[in-house]
Symmetry: C2
Subunit: 223 residues, 2 copies
DNA sequence: GGGATTCAATTGTCAGATGATCTATCGACT
DNA sequence: AGTCGATAGATCATCTGACAATTGAATCCC
């Protein structure tokens, strides 16, 4: 037999659309035919075509705007990371692994941060600004928000977008046991952040690494 | 000014479905409500709900079978690669950032690998097995497959699932310039892999780190 | 009891219609 | 003449309703 299982109309459509894009060497921003036209060309209903385009849109391969039409999109890692949370390895993660992963990610980034801090003084300003805001934090909620902001800024300071995206994802899973931080730990955390920035500003990578590692691993005591 | 655009029904639906899965801690294979039920619960038409599920299905987050219903799926990175890698022009990630990210990720993992290698001898066996298979690789395709396999095994050897997941994602975006590897580079790559395993087996983390960094950064010459 | 059949449940596909939103053109007013 | 606003057309967004295709289990027949 030719086809064991008949390929679904929708899946054929997605392939056809991708083929259309490649064949005509279309790039981000280029126009695609309208839904009606595409459906007619492929000989399927507009609905099936929509299911196809919506799938492609999910990853950013195409973009659709009301009143405008379909255009070729640009895929960025952030979008994919956003949905990656369902990767089998992440659905049910051991907190220890989560912590270790964060240590690797954030300490690994420090050499890059130091390098970029030397060129761009706004990075240090930004980090110190957040540290300063810690002082006026009164409740757990704002404290957590600031903590996330600080660590995100740290990753951003490396200039490595993929790691920022991944860091965001880790934070989502980290959230649940962040809330168990005791008031006593705040103060220590604030001091730790401040020392970290100091080390970075002086280019003392090893000290900064040790400080950051200790800071993140302190979460292990609360598991 | 903040563009106040109403979030589309479909996008809300995808979020709701993901939320549903996470909230109930559903894993691959678990059943979801039927389309009709879901649509009713969310207060939207079955059609809009379908566009949502089809999007999720595109990444493998959910699976649907005629006559059976919806089940939770397992994200298949190969599938993601297949869709994402079809047109390099659509990918918007700075290659340098990609390489640097990989360096941080994989070198950061090495101390953990060494530690676990000491306890579990199968790890070294596994890595050497892949290195051995490189010898018999005849075409670019199998070479690439082995390279991916090696680096994935390396991450797995750390025991840190989140990083494995992230590594998978990076490989998706890395794919495109893997294909530009010249035959001459194969041999060097194989040797580098072998040296890396040797260093790891001896617990020489610094040497291993340097070797791995050099290996990954060699891609920079081909940009 | 075992195999074939029927049937209910569920997804797959279609057609048609209406609302929402964007672009562009045209016209009025200064 | 130039600017602003309104109108119209194009296009996507969403809904309703219906029927076909597929699956899995209950049922029936021997």
């Amino acid at each position: 037999m030719q086809t064991l299982r008949r390929s679904k109309v929708r899946d054929q459509a997605t392939e056809q659309i991708k083929h259309y894009i490649v064949e005509r060497k279309l790039g981000p921003g280029d126009r695609l035919p309208t839904e009606t036209q595409l459906a007619e060309t492929l000989g399927i209903s507009r609905l099936s075509l929509r299911e196809a385009t919506k799938s492609l849109e999910f990853l950013g391969i195409v973009k659709s705007k009301t009143g405008v039409g379909l255009t070729v999109g640009r895929i960025d890692m952030e979008r994919v990371t956003e949905h990656l949370g369902f990767h089998a390895g992440l659905l049910d993660v051991d907190p220890h692994q989560l912590i270790d992963s964060r240590v690797i990610l954030e300490t690994g980034v420090l050499p890059y941060v130091v390098r970029r801090m030397a060129d761009d003084p706004t990075i240090e300003t930004r980090l110190r600004e957040i540290v300063g805001q810690f002082e006026s934090a009164r409740d757990l909620k704002t404290f957590i928000a600031l903590d996330i902001q600080f660590h995100r800024s740290l990753l951003e300071a490396s200039g490595l977008q993929p790691l920022v995206a991944f860091g965001d994802l880790l934070h989502v899973f980290f959230q649940r046991f962040r809330e168990s931080v005791k008031q006593a730990a705040w103060k220590a955390g604030v001091e730790s952040h401040r020392r970290l920035v100091d080390f970075l500003a002086k280019g003392r990578i090893d000290d900064a690494t040790a400080e950051l590692r200790k800071h993140i691993e302190s979460h292990k005591e609360r598991i």
